[in-house]
């Protein structure tokens, strides 16, 4: 039956994806794309108008499934195809659903401007449909929340609630709007009001609620109850949240349940347990952009409560520079939004600024961590397994320090980054020698070597309060993460990779190229720069590659070194020595 082919294809895809449930979060992007391909093809081909609605229904379900599993980027292709089709057919129902899906997916990957643009389109298509427009307003609120604009988000939710006023039954939209409103009120410090909203949401709960929404509400309740000091009351919600998360088995659910649990543990004084939990949640959140800011904020609070002001400060800085900054920048570039967001933006910025000032006032003068020289030696031992001198780590450290400084990091922080990068390969200690010898033989082996040394290194450096070791751990964990998300751990991409790890990746690759660490012919300094450039935007942060190139050029010019020399090793060694030298500067 040719008419139902599109629906069949879509159903089939949904089935495959559902069968992947549990693995979906970890599956390859190409695999997901392959599953979606036939559906997109059918959406693009001329469909019977009667069939369109059925296909839309299934396609939106696919998008939602991918969304909860943190695969929004892949789902966007499908949502866009659907939107184009809807516009072509001038079918408002399809446009409305597709545009909302696009908005939700864009918000999830951190592109707030595109998200709001699509929501506005959906709102236009929804016209008099109160239920739909309420849902869309709720979603706009979510997008605002991604940009940390909680005041604005609150207004969106309140609008969504106002639209629903007087409607019969228990619309799920009311539940989610109330729950989200509670979250915003928590973020802006209005705990009592937040509790009222959260309990109202609890009352509005109905049978057919989306379990993820139930989970979010539990998390919000826990945070609010702890904030007002009613720790005991929070316990049942913590348990409910973890049960819900076990049923859902998505990264998003895991993060929400972990945050609830950790907040509760913290309030009970089990800081170590809470920090370990949050550390895992943070690793997951780096793969789900929309959840990263919230998780970072929670981690910063937890570190502060545990008395680790320096580590809290690192997290606050990460929020300001890498997560919050780009979202605000994107919004600011959008003129319509600039006038809307200005006032509340400063409120949040002020909040973060205050947190920063508070933390700084508590800092003790930083010194070298205990046992650092032992770690340094271990780092040398680890690199000796790959190259005879064992100085690879030292060189990468010097290059990373110079790169961090060139990228505008404070000199002292650059110094710390340099030290942290020295031990980036410390996990190689755990990789059997036979396996290292096989490098380059098969992609599988290479992959397992990377996976193993990264995990082992992070383990060696775990549980230390000193900020340098803390930084080193992040470098170790993410120095094989690629800018486009294809490295390890996969899907941690872009600015969600900690800065120090991004810098280390560039320096590490440069040193490998020049010294031929992996058995390749040593390249000249210029050739190596060219090879880095070729990978900018794929493996490396393109901005950092630019800075690195100009830094190397400036330094070698100053020293009068020939960058094009064939065996550039000697010149390179001189460059590194110059970078390490202390002439009373830093």
């Amino acid at each position: 039956m040719p008419l139902a082919k599109g629906v069949d294809a879509a159903d089939q895809a949904l089935e495959i994806l559902q069968s992947l449930e549990g693995h979906l979060a970890a599956s390859e992007p190409a695999e997901v794309a392959r599953v979606l391909e036939p559906v997109i093809e059918h959406v693009q081909s001329p469909l019977d108008p009667a069939e369109v609605h059925a296909v839309t229904e299934v396609a939106v379900r696919i998008c939602r499934l991918l969304h909860v599993n943190g695969r929004s980027r892949e789902a966007l292709v499908l949502a866009h195809a659907l939107l184009a089709r809807g516009k072509e057919l001038e079918d408002t129902l399809v446009v409305k659903r597709a545009a909302s899906a696009c908005g939700l997916l864009y918000a999830d990957i951190g592109d707030v401007v595109s998200a709001i643009e699509h929501f506005v389109e959906a709102l236009r298509a929804a016209k008099d449909d109160r239920l739909a427009s309420s849902g869309i307003w709720s979603n706009i609120g979510l997008a605002m929340g991604v940009a940390a604009n909680y005041e604005m988000a609150s207004r969106c939710y309140q609008r969504a609630l106002a639209i629903l006023e007087g409607m019969p039954g228990r619309p799920t939209a009311r539940h989610s709007a109330l729950s989200n409103l509670a979250q915003c009120q928590f973020e802006t410090g209005a705990y009592e009001e937040g509790l009222v909203s959260a309990y109202l949401a609890l009352q509005a709960e109905s049978e057919n609620e989306d379990p993820m929404n139930l989970l979010r509400l539990r998390r919000n309740l826990v945070r609010l109850l702890v904030a007002v000091g009613r720790v005991e009351d929070a316990e049942p919600f913590v348990i409910e949240a973890s049960i819900l998360a076990q049923g859902l088995r998505t990264p998003r659910a895991a993060i929400a349940a972990t945050i609830a649990r950790a907040v509760y543990d913290l309030a009970r004084g089990d800081t170590d347990v809470a920090l370990t939990r949050l550390d895992n949640a943070l690793a997951t959140a780096r793969e789900v952009p929309a959840a990263l800011r919230e998780t970072l904020a929670c981690v910063a609070r937890a570190e502060e409560m545990a008395g680790h002001s320096e580590r809290a400060l690192l997290r606050v800085d990460e929020i300001m520079d890498h997560v919050y900054g780009p979202a605000v920048e994107a919004a600011r570039r959008h003129i319509e939004l600039a006038s809307l967001t200005d006032r509340s933006r400063t409120a949040v910025e002020q909040q973060t600024g205050q947190a920063r000032a508070r933390l700084i006032s508590r800092l003790a003068p930083r010194a070298r961590p205990d046992g650092w020289s032992a770690l340094e030696r271990l780092g040398v031992a680890a690199t000796m397994r790959m190259e005879p001198t064992g100085w690879h780590g030292k060189r990468v450290g010097a290059l990373s320090k110079a790169l961090a400084m060139a990228a505008g990091t404070d000199p002292l922080q650059s110094l710390e980054i340099g030290f942290a990068c020295e031990v980036h390969d410390i996990g190689m200690l755990s990789v059997p020698e036979e396996m290292l010898a096989k490098r380059g033989v098969s992609a599988d082996i290479e992959r397992s070597v990377i996976e193993r040394h990264v995990k082992a290194g992070a383990e060696i450096l775990s549980d230390d309060a000193h900020p340098r070791i803390f930084l080193a751990r992040e470098v170790v964990r993410y120095h094989h993460a690629a800018w486009d998300g294809n490295g390890y751990p996969e899907r941690v991409a872009g600015k969600r990779i900690p800065f120090a790890a991004r810098a280390c990746a560039v320096a590490d690759a440069y040193d490998d190229l020049i010294c031929g660490v992996h058995g390749t012919a040593p390249a000249s300094m210029d050739d190596a720069l060219g090879q880095l450039r070729a990978q900018a935007g794929r493996r490396f942060d393109p901005d950092l590659v630019d800075r690195f190139e100009s830094m190397i050029r400036a330094e070698t010019d100053d020293l009068g070194l020939d960058r094009a020399a064939d065996s550039g090793m000697e010149n390179f060694q001189q460059l590194v020595t110059a970078l390490q030298e202390d002439r009373g500067f830093i």
Binding site: L363, P365, D410, L412, M551, L559, R583, G584, I586
Partner: protein, 326 residues
């Protein structure tokens, strides 16, 4: 009536506290006002003495408390209600003072945040886990003396070192110090001596290229730029300006270029440019202070814990003493 008492006690006390680095909040606590009221009073005070911000107010106060102050005495609001003439041209607070006196005096305790072997270097050593031994202490003392001479515009100091024969030894030991000597000699018009030191630096560079140590490329470039600028060659000034405004490399070298550029402008009587350069150096010192603070290092404020009301002057004196002792 004594000039110093023309100002009411509250303003006096406010300035005293400001000079110790107190914020509006601390001022409010100490003087028993709400923070909002304090801000209004501060604003009025700034207007009364003709400054724009806290930094300028502190400089104004420091200037005034120094006896031989070349600047006109302070005034409370004029009796006829007309706004008082500003004591310092608005917008050039620090630069003006640096011109009237010298960079070293104008920077005061903040001077230790800039230049080679400053607080930043010290904090860096702690992070590296290197203890300051006798050799480093001597090296540091030598560098700081030269840096001080550069800030003060004390060109004769370098000439003295040169005549002693110490200059050549210093240049051989430390390229940065050698560069500072060469800059000072050039600025003081001792061009033959300057060329000799510059040549010995270049010699070290050549031998370094063959051996293991690195060539002091940037220091040499700085010396070249200064000698060209001193001859009135614009490309030299441009190179110096570039070195003073570069971002993301050794901050101490950048600050060295800034101080040199200030002296070049001053010798040439380009006062506006000199003022701006001095302001930039101040900003550099303040930025460094903030960076250190973010690492938990507060070299000034530890000594500057607020004393009880009335002990302000002793505190300022103690602060200065502590800063000098370092």
């Amino acid at each position: 009536m004594n000039k110093a008492t023309t100002m009411d006690t509250r303003s006096e006390r406010m300035l005293e506290l400001l000079a110790q680095g107190a914020s509006a909040r601390v001022l409010a606590e100490q003087l028993g006002y709400s923070e909002g009221t304090m801000r209004v009073y501060l604003h009025n005070l700034y207007r009364a003495i003709g400054v724009r911000n806290k930094t300028e107010a502190v400089i104004w106060y420091m200037n005034r408390t120094r006896e031989e102050s070349p600047l006109p005495p302070p005034r409370a609001a004029a009796p006829d209600g007309a706004p008082p003439p500003p004591s310092i041209p608005v917008g050039h607070g620090f630069g003006e003072m640096a011109l009237a006196e010298d960079l070293y005096t104008a920077l005061g305790a903040m001077g230790s945040f800039v230049g080679p072997y400053g607080y930043l270097w010290e904090a860096g050593l702690k992070l590296k886990g290197v203890a300051i031994d006798a050799k480093l202490t001597a090296q540091r003392a030598q560098s700081r003396l030269l840096w001080r001479a550069l800030l003060k515009g004390d060109f004769a100091y370098a000439k003295m070192l040169y005549d002693d024969g110490a200059a050549a030894r210093i240049a051989a030991e430390s390229p940065t110090d050698g560069a500072m000597i060469a800059c000072l000699l050039t600025l003081g018009g001792f061009s033959t001596a300057a060329q000799k030191i510059a040549a010995s630096l270049a010699e070290k560079g050549r031998s370094a290229a063959a051996g293991k140590a690195t060539a002091p490329g940037r220091e040499m470039a700085l010396v070249r730029a200064v000698s060209q600028a001193a001859e009135g060659n614009e490309s030299g000034t441009a190179a110096l300006y570039e070195a003073a405004s570069e971002k993301g490399r050794a901050p101490a070298l950048k600050q060295l270029a800034m101080a040199t550029l200030f002296q070049v402008y001053r010798v040439r009587k380009e006062l506006d440019a000199a003022r701006q350069t001095a302001d930039a150096l101040w900003a550099e010192a303040e930025a460094t202070r903030q960076q250190l603070e973010a690492m938990g290092v507060r070299p000034l404020s530890r000594e500057a814990a607020l004393p009880p009301v009335g002990a302000g002057e002793q505190a300022v004196a103690a602060l200065r003493k502590a800063a000098l002792a370092r």
